[in-house]
C-alpha cells in the first residue's frame, strides 16, 4: 500500500517536472533559421526565464510557432482595469500578447516591458536619454495572472477549510479524508510554533493569522512548481503585503511591555544620566528593528522563491544548450532533483514565515512578571 502510494507520488512528480521542459522545448527548438545562432538562442532562453518570473496580463500556459511562422498561444486572457480619465476596462486579448496596440473608448495603450503605457494609434513610445519611456502611465489595477492565482488560492482554501470544519462537526471531532492530512499540520503550527513562541495565554488570538499565512504561502509556493508557470510568492509586491500584515499585527497588538522594551529597555536599573548615552544609540536601533524584522521576512520569501525559479528554469534551459545524449539527460536529472528540493523549500519557507511571524508576535504579546523572562527563543 505504502509502496504503491510512493510510486504514484513519484510518477506525479516526474510528470510535473517534465511538462515545463516540454513547453520550453516547443519554444526554442522551432526558432526561425535566421536567428538560430547560439547568441540568439541564448537571448531567447534569457527572455523566456525573465518572462516567466514576471507577472503578466494574460494567462499563457505555453506558446509555439505554427508552420506558417506565426506564434500560437495556449491560455486565456484576463481583464485589464485602468484608471485613466475614468475607469477603462477591457480584455487583455486586445493586446495580442503584447504585440498589438489596444484601443478602448478612443484611448490607445501598449505594453512595453510588462507595463502599460498610453500611446497614440500607431503605438509609438518616446524615450528619454536613458531609454526610459516618457509616455503617460495610467494607474493599473489589472486583474493579472498573479491576482488570478491569489484569488484561486483563496477560494481553494475557503472551500477546503470550511468543508473540513463541517466534517469535524459531523464526525464528532474525528478527522476524515483530507482532514487526516491537514490535522497534523494545524496541530503542529499550534503546538510547535504558536504556543512556544507566543505563550499559552495569548496564542489563540494569533492562530487564525498564522494558519492562514502558512497555508497561503505554502499553496502559492506549490502552485509555483506546477507547469502553470506562476510565480506569485516570488513577486515582491505579494511578499511586501504579507510582511506588512505581520508588521501591523505585531505593532497593534503590542503590549505596554513591548513598547517599554523598545523605548526604555533598561528600566529602573540605572539613573537617567546613566541611561542617556546608551539610549542615544540603543533607541534608534530598536526603532529600526521594528522595520527590519518584517523587511527580512519579505526579502527572504521573495528571494528564495525567485532564486528557486531561476535555478530551475536555468537547468531546464541547459537541456537545450547541451543538445546531446549525455548532457541533456544529466541536466534533466539535475532539474528533477532541484524540483524535489524546491518542494521542500516551498514548505520550509512557509514554515519560516509563520515561525518568525509567531516569534515577533511573541515579542509583542510578552508581558513581564519581572521574575523570569518570557519563554521566547
Amino acid at each position: 500500500m505504502r509502496e504503491k502510494f510512493l510510486l504514484k507520488l513519484l510518477v506525479t512528480l516526474f510528470i510535473i517536472s517534465a511538462i515545463p521542459s516540454y513547453a520550453q522545448h516547443t519554444e526554442s527548438d522551432d526558432a526561425p533559421t535566421e536567428l538560430s545562432t547560439k547568441e540568439a538562442e541564448k537571448l531567447e532562453r534569457k527572455e523566456y526565464i525573465k518572462h516567466h518570473l514576471q507577472d503578466s496580463y494574460d494567462f499563457n500556459l505555453f506558446s509555439y510557432k505554427q508552420e506558417d511562422g506565426t506564434k500560437k498561444h495556449i491560455g486565456f486572457s484576463l481583464p485589464i482595469i485602468l484608471w485613466d480619465n475614468g475607469l477603462q476596462i477591457f480584455s487583455s486579448s486586445k493586446f495580442h500578447h503584447g504585440e498589438a496596440v489596444a484601443e478602448n473608448n478612443g484611448n490607445y495603450y501598449k505594453i512595453y516591458h510588462n507595463k502599460i503605457y498610453k500611446t497614440d494609434a500607431e503605438g509609438t513610445i518616446t524615450y528619454d536619454e536613458e531609454h526610459h519611456p516618457t509616455n503617460a502611465k495610467p494607474l493599473d489595477f489589472s486583474f493579472t495572472k498573479g491576482v488570478f492565482m491569489i484569488l484561486l488560492t483563496c477560494i481553494l482554501m475557503y472551500l477546503l477549510f470550511t468543508s473540513l470544519a463541517k466534517s469535524y462537526v459531523k464526525n464528532g471531532s474525528i478527522a476524515k479524508g483530507m482532514g487526516r492530512f491537514f490535522e497534523p499540520i494545524v496541530l503542529y503550527i499550534r503546538d510547535d510554533i504558536a504556543i512556544p513562541n507566543i505563550g499559552e495565554k495569548k496564542y489563540m488570538k494569533y492562530m487564525p493569522y498564522l494558519l492562514t499565512v502558512f497555508f497561503f504561502v505554502w499553496f502559492l509556493n506549490l502552485f509555483g512548481l506546477t507547469p502553470l508557470g506562476v510565480n506569485v510568492t516570488g513577486n515582491i509586491a505579494v511578499t511586501v503585503a504579507l510582511a506588512l500584515l505581520t508588521f501591523l499585527i505585531t505593532n497593534f497588538t503590542g503590549t505596554k511591555d513591548y513598547w517599554k522594551h523598545i523605548f526604555d529597555p533598561l528600566g529602573d536599573s540605572m539613573p537617567w544620566y546613566g541611561k542617556l548615552p546608551i539610549y542615544i544609540i540603543l533607541i534608534p536601533i530598536e526603532i529600526l528593528g521594528i522595520f527590519i524584522k518584517p523587511f527580512s521576512l519579505l526579502i527572504r520569501l521573495y528571494a528564495n522563491m525567485q532564486a528557486g525559479h531561476i535555478v530551475l528554469m536555468s537547468l531546464i534551459g541547459l537541456m537545450f544548450l547541451f543538445k546531446s545524449w549525455l548532457g541533456s539527460p544529466m541536466s534533466f536529472m539535475l532539474a528533477f532533483a532541484i524540483s524535489l528540493i524546491e518542494l521542500l523549500v516551498a514548505l520550509l519557507q512557509a514554515y519560516i514565515f509563520t515561525m518568525l511571524s509567531a516569534l515577533y508576535f511573541g515579542f509583542a504579546a510578552e508581558e513581564h512578571d519581572h521574575h523570569e523572562e518570557a519563554p521566547a527563543h
Binding site: 526579502i299 527572504r300 528571494a303 532564486a307 519560516i352 515561525m355 527563543h377
Partner: protein, 58 residues
C-alpha cells in the same frame, strides 16, 4: 561576480557549520531533537537571506 562567489562560499561554510553543530547537538541530546532542528532551520534561513541579497546585487 567573484564577490557573489565569495559570498556563496561564506554562506555555504556558515550553513555547513550550523548543520554540523546541530548534528553534534542531536547526537549528544537526542531528546532535544525538535528544538535543535527548529533553531537550526531559523539560523540557516537567516544566513541564506544574506546569500540571496548578495546574489541579487550581481
Amino acid at each position: 561576480m567573484v564577490g557573489a562567489g565569495l559570498v556563496v562560499i561564506g554562506v555555504g561554510i556558515g550553513i555547513g557549520r550550523i548543520g554540523g553543530s546541530a548534528m553534534e547537538a542531536i547526537a549528544r541530546q537526542p531528546e532535544a531533537y525538535g528544538k535543535i532542528q527548529t533553531a537550526m532551520l531559523i539560523a540557516a534561513a537567516l544566513i541564506e537571506g544574506i546569500g540571496f541579497a548578495a546574489l541579487f546585487a550581481v
